[in-house]
């Protein structure tokens, strides 16, 4: 089957790649564009390690065809920092020790970022915070430090630098 040119906008940058239409967004990001921050941890759309945002919505990039994302704004973990300045949620993760082996961390950060952006300043309940990362498995931390970090940002303890 024929390959095709695909233009993807990732972290504000335009990339042009040459792919089979069956290429998953996760494969496009990791293998074709070379951004390996986004990880993959399963074959059943279960673990969430591949989470990125597309037009601000969190999606599991292993279950989205890359071709469906043309013209959309894709953000990966590499796009969270701005000119070497970490985003509020990244700083909160550092302060709260919200990571250990780090493999789930990019996906967690993307789910958290989408959730915090959607809140628009509203203060979430603990249940809502836990629900926001329900789709992301972490085997190391037991989630509670991640919940604390998200809460700290939601409470306004971290401003954009």
């Amino acid at each position: 089957m024929e390959k095709q040119v695909l233009r993807l906008k990732i972290n504000g940058d335009e990339y042009e790649i040459f792919i089979h239409p069956k290429t998953l967004l996760a494969e496009a990001i990791r293998d074709y564009v070379g951004l390996t921050g986004t990880k993959r941890g399963c074959d059943t759309v279960s673990c969430g390690a591949c989470t990125v945002t597309v037009n601000g919505m969190s999606v599991k990039s292993c279950s989205v065809l890359a071709v469906q994302c043309e013209g959309m704004d894709i953000t990966t973990v590499e796009g969270l920092e701005k000119n070497g300045k970490l985003s509020p949620i990244q700083r909160a993760f550092l302060d709260h020790g919200s990571y250990q082996c780090g493999f789930c961390t990019p996906g967690m950060l993307m789910s958290s970022t989408a959730f915090l952006d959607e809140l628009g300043g509203k203060k979430p309940s603990e249940e809502e915070i836990r629900e926001s990362i329900e789709g992301n498995i972490c085997r190391c931390t037991g989630y509670n430090s991640i919940v604390r970090a998200i809460d700290a940002v939601a409470q306004g303890n971290y401003k954009e630098e």
């Binding site: 069956k22 989470t51 969190s58 999606v59 599991k60 329900e134």
Partner: protein, 290 residues
């Protein structure tokens, strides 16, 4: 590994249906949340894939006091979950969506895709059937509307034939004194139910049961309407004893299949418990309703 396919991207529903009619070995992809898993496992290898994800024609949530709710097929689960009008008029739908898979899946997956996939463990089916929904599908030649409980035919099989596309789900305006509740039994909150039950109750002015629906999830090849339990309740003054009895009937009528997660006995038992509880919950909602 996904097998290669030709990728087609129609600009309109009409074009999509024409493409679908033209190619024999093809599948529709929208959110792909169910389809991609099937493709990756090599269970399906269509030559053509028609992408309807960007067909905004089919992306809408419309509510009218008389006509009820109309959901376009490419509406995402998340849009349903976040809809104010649905939260107000059909809170059971929002509650169901909140526990459907994960946010990431709900952001991209669609109601049309979910129903077309026809997984008897799927969450929307039982709730929509309890809400008396009907589904419209069409092909290049025309459209058909059927009650949702007649739409599902077997495991992962619907009344649709090659060339048919889900177009819209229509949920009638709720009765003034009605309620609907859904619960799945699982170990982790958002996973598919090992079994599930949806119940709706509508009351007459005198408080007796005007109408009831009992729909079981993952209790057979399709969402299972237990009309025997429904008939038990119609016209009666509802109470715990009746709910218990209805649960027993549901337990007996169900056709659950055992697997590593639970035996048949446990599934039947829990279906009975869930039915009893959801009927009671729906009843209490109906009593409180204006």
């Amino acid at each position: 590994m996904i097998n290669d396919f030709h990728y087609l991207k129609p600009a309109s529903v009409k074009e999509a249906l024409a493409m679908y009619a033209e190619h024999d070995d093809c599948k529709i992809i929208c959110g792909g949340q169910s389809l991609l898993i099937v493709l990756r496992q090599g269970m399906l290898a269509p030559e053509y894939l028609i992408d309807i994800k960007r067909l905004d024609e089919l992306k809408y949530i419309k509510f009218d006091d008389k006509d009820g709710l109309r959901l376009g097929a490419t509406t995402t689960h998340r849009e349903i979950e976040k809809s104010d009008v649905i939260a107000k008029k059909y809170p059971a739908l929002v509650a169901m969506e909140q526990k459907l898979a994960s946010i990431q899946t709900r952001n991209w997956g669609t109601i049309g895709g979910n129903l077309a996939h026809a997984d008897p463990a799927g969450d929307p089916g039982p709730v929509l059937i309890a809400l008396k929904a009907e589904i419209k599908f069409g092909n290049a030649k025309g459209e058909t509307t059927v009650p949702l409980d007649e739409f599902f035919v077997d495991y992962f099989e619907t009344k649709m034939e090659h060339g048919d596309l889900v177009l819209e789900v229509h949920v009638p305006a709720p009765d003034s004194k009605s309620g609907c509740a859904y619960q799945k039994f699982n170990l982790l909150d958002s996973e598919m139910g090992i079994v599930a039950a949806a119940a709706s109750v509508a009351l007459n002015a005198d408080g007796t049961c005007k109408d009831a629906r009992v729909v079981l999830g993952n209790a057979g090849p399709t969402p299972l309407r237990v009309t025997k339990a429904e008939d038990l309740l119609k016209g009666k003054k509802l109470n715990d004893k009746l709910f218990e009895e209805a649960g027993k009937i549901a337990s007996e009528e169900a056709q659950p299949v055992a697997d590593i997660h639970a035996s048949e006995e446990h599934r039947r038992h829990v279906l009975g418990v869930l039915t009893k509880r959801m009927l009671k919950k729906a009843f209490e909602q109906a009593q409180k309703a204006a």
